[in-house]
């Protein structure tokens, strides 16, 4: 079974967010593997262990090499190869052109399963996976909470409001993983040592063009105003004032 895992590198959650002229200042960012994508790696490796095959990581990112070690960690978990598409001027908020470039690469990999996270925790668009499926002309199931091989089919479960949906699909198929789909393993030291012998290929790719959305402004949430302390001589007086405010100002009563 050939499995392609999509990994997006996203700003580390401890990075300080700063907006300059309506744009996110990414200069001081550290990056990490999108947490949802880690579930995809773990699932892919479990399938490989069960039925054999190969797990190939595909990631689109800038030329910033600081991410390499974190990708290598995914190979310690059990992925066999990494292909990193290096794009000058890469941005994480252009799902359509990013999907186009990723789909071109994936097309050549003869995948039975393409798997990634349900969304990137940078822009939360949740669009790249479904778009790639569309471009590859294969079915897709998104936000999967449990995935099982079932002969030449795959069975996906989705937790939806108030219930569980079970979906069967032929392969090839594209799956996006919901949080806590599985427990990502701690690799052994020998897996870490082995990971450095695995193929890690960097490929230059051009900037994708056209037909994409454009982010025109970003801003931080407004600073929260201070609370109001209701003064009064007695508790009754304070409660009366509070009820008055709830009626006239908050208009909730």
């Amino acid at each position: 079974m050939n499995i392609v895992v999509l990994i997006k590198m996203v700003p580390d959650t401890e990075s300080r967010l700063e907006i300059i002229d309506g744009k996110v200042n990414e200069s001081g960012f550290k990056y990490m593997v999108n947490p949802y994508d880690e579930f995809a790696v773990e699932q892919a490796v479990q399938f490989k262990e069960a039925v054999g095959g190969k797990v190939i990581i595909v990631s689109l990112f800038s030329n910033n090499a600081s991410i390499d070690t974190d990708l290598r960690k995914m190979m310690a978990i059990g992925a066999d190869e990494a292909i990193v598409l290096r794009q000058e001027g890469y941005r994480g908020d252009r799902p359509s052109s990013n999907a186009k470039i990723l789909a071109q690469t994936i097309k050549e990999l003869d995948a039975d399963l393409v798997i990634g996270g349900v969304q990137g925790i940078d822009y939360y668009q949740g669009a790249t996976g479904p778009m790639i499926a569309h471009m590859l002309g294969i079915p897709h199931v998104s936000g999967v909470t449990n995935l099982a091989l079932n002969g030449d089919k795959i069975t996906a479960k989705r937790q939806i409001e108030g219930g569980l949906q079970v979906i069967d699909s032929t392969m090839p198929v594209l799956i996006t993983c919901q949080k806590d789909m599985n427990k990502v393993r701690f690799p052994a030291l020998k897996d870490i040592m082995m990971s450095k012998r695995k193929s890690f290929e960097n490929r230059e790719v051009p900037l994708g063009e056209g037909n994409d959305i454009e982010t025109i402004d970003c801003s931080l949430p407004p600073a929260r105003g201070g609370g109001v302390i209701i003064e009064g001589e007695t508790t009754e007086e304070k409660v009366d004032k509070l009820i008055e405010k709830l009626k006239t100002e908050a208009k909730v009563l």
């Binding site: 959650t13 401890e14 290598r72 030291l189 990971s195």
Partner: protein, 388 residues
């Protein structure tokens, strides 16, 4: 508390290999997920979290700087980073790994027969067999050469008599590396849990390293087969060479505990408001934080340099003594300072501070007390030994 990202003011990471970084991060994440959430509980109960042993074994941390026999064969720097991260969790976890790898696997690896290595090392690397190291006796701590435990050759076996004390992992160990005098010479023996005449009662009542098991080893006409002696070493240099390995790990581990205290202190001082300001805005508190960072950075550089020297075979036991002595000394002072910064909260088990502080009191004493290391350095400087 904010997520722990390590302390690396001088960007030592730049000098680490990718593999070393991955090993450090693995253990860091594991400690965050598996040790820190449970350790206060075990500390309070005074027991060791045994369920962690198999996980440590599966990751391959036991004896990870040894070659062959299912050991990972990592660099000494990688091994040091493992100790650093484990001890940020708790000194007990690092102690367990030190005792297993440096004090029990190492002597078999360095001084054992091929059969002994085959028999014990793979199981120990996987955490399926636990080892302990019996050197200290009730009446011989800093002066192990005066040990009274004796082995006698009775023809087809050795018979051991005597007692060891303060033995980490003793009660749960499957095998003990026991140092005893045979015809007046110190030799190493492998005693197995089921050997007749051997018992390992646990010592109770510790206020330090409470999440570690500490035991007595008692030998009453304990008979062991002849092939359980470590053939390749005689005299005090046997146990001392093991101690050099473990002391090296402590050089890194103690700084890990200090990093945990520093991290908590920075967080706490920024959020604790007193006189209408975060206490981090007062000069006296900043001075303390700056001192902590300064000593951690020096200790880190020392550990890193020592590690590279060990990898290239240039590290001497005296260099290791200086590392152990300095880094435990500053770690304990950092822990006390952190206790002060945390105010009354510093004594609570909601914060790791008091636990680290109490643990480090043991670390200050075991593996050669602080002053014994001063004497080792004094002998190196002057050529005069001042032990006796």
């Amino acid at each position: 508390m904010s997520r722990y990202e390590g302390v690396d003011f001088y960007n030592i990471e730049k000098h680490l290999t990718e593999e070393e970084i991955m090993v450090r991060d693995l253990v860091r994440d594991w400690v965050d997920e598996k040790v820190i959430p449970i350790i206060e509980d075990y500390y309070t109960k005074g027991t060791f979290p045994m369920e962690l042993i198999s996980e440590i074994g599966e990751m391959g941390l036991f004896g990870c700087n040894l070659e062959g026999y299912e050991c990972a064969g990592l660099s000494n720097v990688a091994y040091g980073l493992v100790c650093q991260e484990l001890e940020r969790g708790d000194s007990a976890i690092r102690s367990c790994v030190s005792v297993q790898g440096s004090l029990s696997m190492y002597p078999i690896h360095a001084f054992g027969t091929e059969e002994q290595k085959q028999k014990y090392l793979p199981g120990m690397a996987q955490g399926k067999l636990i080892g302990c190291f019996g050197l200290t006796e009730p009446d011989h701590g800093s002066d192990p050469g005066g040990m009274e435990t004796k082995a006698v050759d009775d023809g087809d076996s050795y018979v051991l008599n005597g007692a060891k004390m303060w033995i980490t992992n003793g009660t749960v160990a499957d095998l003990a590396i026991v140092w005893a005098k045979l015809e007046g010479k110190i030799r190493g023996f492998i005693v197995e849990k089921s050997d007749s005449g051997f018992s390992a009662p646990e010592m109770k009542g510790k206020h330090s390293l409470r999440a570690s098991i500490t035991s007595e080893l008692v030998f009453q006409d304990c008979k062991i087969p002849k092939d359980r002696v470590l053939p390749e070493v005689q005299g005090l240099k046997g146990p001392l060479s093991c101690l050099t390995q473990a002391r090296y790990g402590i050089t890194w581990g103690s700084i890990g505990a200090a990093m945990g205290c520093f991290h908590s202190s920075v967080d706490y001082s920024k959020s604790r408001i007193m006189f209408k300001k975060p206490i981090a805005s007062f000069q006296l508190v900043q001075n303390k934080l700056a001192w902590m960072l300064r000593e951690i950075t020096k200790g880190q550089l020392l550990a890193y340099h020592l590690g590279r020297a060990k990898d290239s075979g240039e590290a001497t036991p005296e260099m290791v003594s200086l590392g152990k002595m300095n880094n435990v000394d500053v770690a304990i002072q950092i822990a006390r300072m952190a206790r002060d910064i945390h105010g009354a909260n510093g004594i609570l088990n909601e914060y790791p501070i008091m636990r680290h502080m109490a643990n480090l009191e043991s670390v200050y004493t075991y593996e050669g007390t602080h002053d014994i290391h001063n004497l080792i350095l004094g002998r190196w400087i002057t050529g005069i030994q001042a032990f006796e």
